[in-house]
């Protein structure tokens, strides 16, 4: 009986036979060289379809188990354990690199977050981060564990959002922060989340659920905001 293969970040499909894997992208930006490589791999290994996911990932669906290693090789990447099964991601809008509405450079900033923190080890629940470059919030920061909205005068930080089984809107905990202040705050938030993941009463819970259980004060104190 087949199952997901976490070490290869391969997701078993409904046919019980083939797998989906995700092309290596940061925040949904696909340069043309990578795009050509993905197209060639999809053709060569007979992907059933490509799927742009809600997390701005590009999935290759219908890959055979015996081809997984070759597919990763051909894509020129190694599977990222910890990023498997849609558990963790940083989702980002085009920001002021591309979009006329963008007020901050979300793409570079998301890259910085990913390089510094991702994957987020030892957190036993999902970690989703959304980086939006204006109030329109096309990456839905309100339903991310950590949601950032970039405005001219700094970042707004929302925490504790989720969209799935136990939907919650994130709560604003800080406004007007600089890039560096966000890096510090995100590190504190992840450390807090990781510590809570290690305690029996809050293990496997999303950040928003932890906040409901314990109140938001411990989190605010851990972040130096209370």
């Amino acid at each position: 009986m087949k199952d997901d293969i976490p070490s290869k970040a391969a997701i078993l499909q409904r046919d019980g036979e083939t797998y989906a894997i995700m092309a290596p992208l940061l925040g949904g930006v696909l340069d043309l060289e990578t795009a050509k490589r993905v197209a060639a791999v999809a053709e060569q290994y007979g992907a059933k379809t490509l799927k742009i996911t809600g997390a701005q990932r590009l999935g290759l669906i219908g890959i055979r188990e015996e081809h997984l290693d070759q597919v990763y090789d051909a894509l020129g990447v190694k599977p990222k354990p910890g990023a498997h099964l849609c558990q963790q991601y940083v989702k980002v809008c085009p920001g002021n690199t591309f979009c006329t509405r963008g007020q901050r450079d979300t793409i570079s900033f998301a890259k910085r977050l990913v390089e510094e923190f991702h994957p987020f080890p030892k957190i036993t629940a999902k970690v989703k981060i959304g980086v939006a470059g204006c109030f329109n919030s096309c990456v839905e920061p309100a339903i991310k564990d950590i949601g950032l909205i970039g405005l001219k005068n700094g970042w707004i930080v929302m925490v504790g959002g989720a969209g799935g089984k136990e939907p919650m809107l994130g709560e604003v905990i800080a406004k007007g922060l600089s890039d560096d202040q966000i890096m510090e705050l995100v590190e504190k938030l992840l450390k807090y989340y990781r510590a809570a993941s290690g305690r029996p009463q809050t293990r496997n819970l999303r950040l928003g659920v932890i906040m409901q259980k314990t109140g938001k004060e411990p989190l605010l104190r851990a972040c130096g905001l209370a």
């Binding site: 078993l12 499909q13 409904r14 989906a20 992208l25 949904g28 930006v29 696909l30 340069d31 043309l32 795009a35 050509k36 993905v38 197209a39 999809a42 053709e43 992907a47 059933k48 379809t49 490509l50 799927k51 742009i52 996911t53 809600g54 997390a55 701005q56 990932r57 590009l58 669906i61 849609c86 989702k91 809008c93 085009p94 002021n96 690199t97 591309f98 979009c99 006329t100 963008g102 109030f135 329109n136 919030s137 096309c138 990456v139 839905e140 920061p141 309100a142 339903i143 909205i149 959002g161 969209g163 799935g164 089984k165 939907p167 809107l169 994130g170």
Partner: protein, 222 residues
């Protein structure tokens, strides 16, 4: 001063010079042949990059205005209505077609609604999300109309939005069959179409203004 060119689905980019276009890719499912053609077009017209969007599209970024018609011609794809006051997209997950978690045929339902409503003009921006299970990877709760597939049928929510003032949709139907969902979606869209006064006010704010009970009465679920 350049602006978006709505009828060419062209979105002006930051530097005020080039455009992005977002071809219609229902639910983000794109076959390998079409993907190859899209990549070739991006290369031929010197696109800066491709961007996978939250609406499950692939935007081709950095096209020149004079190349827009030729790029669309080569793509052989329809326009994705990423801008304008209309049904922007029907976002859906792999559902029972591919995903092991799927409880309902989100792809079938998503494609059906996409065919009926994508690009349909309304008083404000309007998004539809169809998820085949309770994990909700199409984020249905923050869409104007959201469907969640459960073992016993669909849950329908209305009035969600994820922007600066986020709001979850209100439940307006539970345990519905495919046909009942299609009927309810039609009634919600017909109701909103009639809200001429709403000009750019999204459905959730309209519900807040008139009250949930009145909204439910208007769509026949009270």
């Amino acid at each position: 001063m350049k602006t978006d060119i709505v009828d060419k689905g062209a979105i002006l980019q930051q530097q005020g010079e080039t455009y992005a276009i977002a071809p219609h890719i229902p639910g983000g499912f794109i076959d390998v042949v079409t993907f190859r053609r899209l990549v070739d077009v991006a290369e031929k017209y010197g696109a800066q990059a491709l961007k996978l969007t939250s609406g499950q599209r692939i935007a081709i970024i950095g096209l020149k205005e004079e190349d827009l018609d030729a790029a669309w011609h080569d793509l052989q794809m329809g326009i994705g209505y990423a801008i304008g006051l209309c049904v922007r997209m029907v976002k859906f997950c792999p559902g029972t077609t591919y995903c092991r978690h799927g409880k309902q045929d989100a792809m079938g339902m998503g494609l059906k609604l996409d065919k009926l409503y994508h690009g349909f003009q309304l008083p404000a921006k309007f998004k539809i999300g169809v998820a085949g299970c309770e994990y909700g990877c199409a984020a249905p709760l923050v869409k104007e109309i959201g469907l969640r597939g459960m073992p016993e049928g669909w849950i329908v929510t209305a009035g969600g939005t994820a922007g600066a003032k986020p709001r979850f949709g209100d439940i307006v139907g539970e345990r519905l069959t495919d046909d009942q969902v299609a009927d309810l979606v039609e009634r919600i869209i017909r109701f909103f179409k009639g809200c001429d006064w709403a000009k750019k006010t999204r459905l959730g704010r309209v519900i807040d203004q008139i009250g949930l009970d009145e909204f439910k009465t208007a769509i026949g679920v009270a």
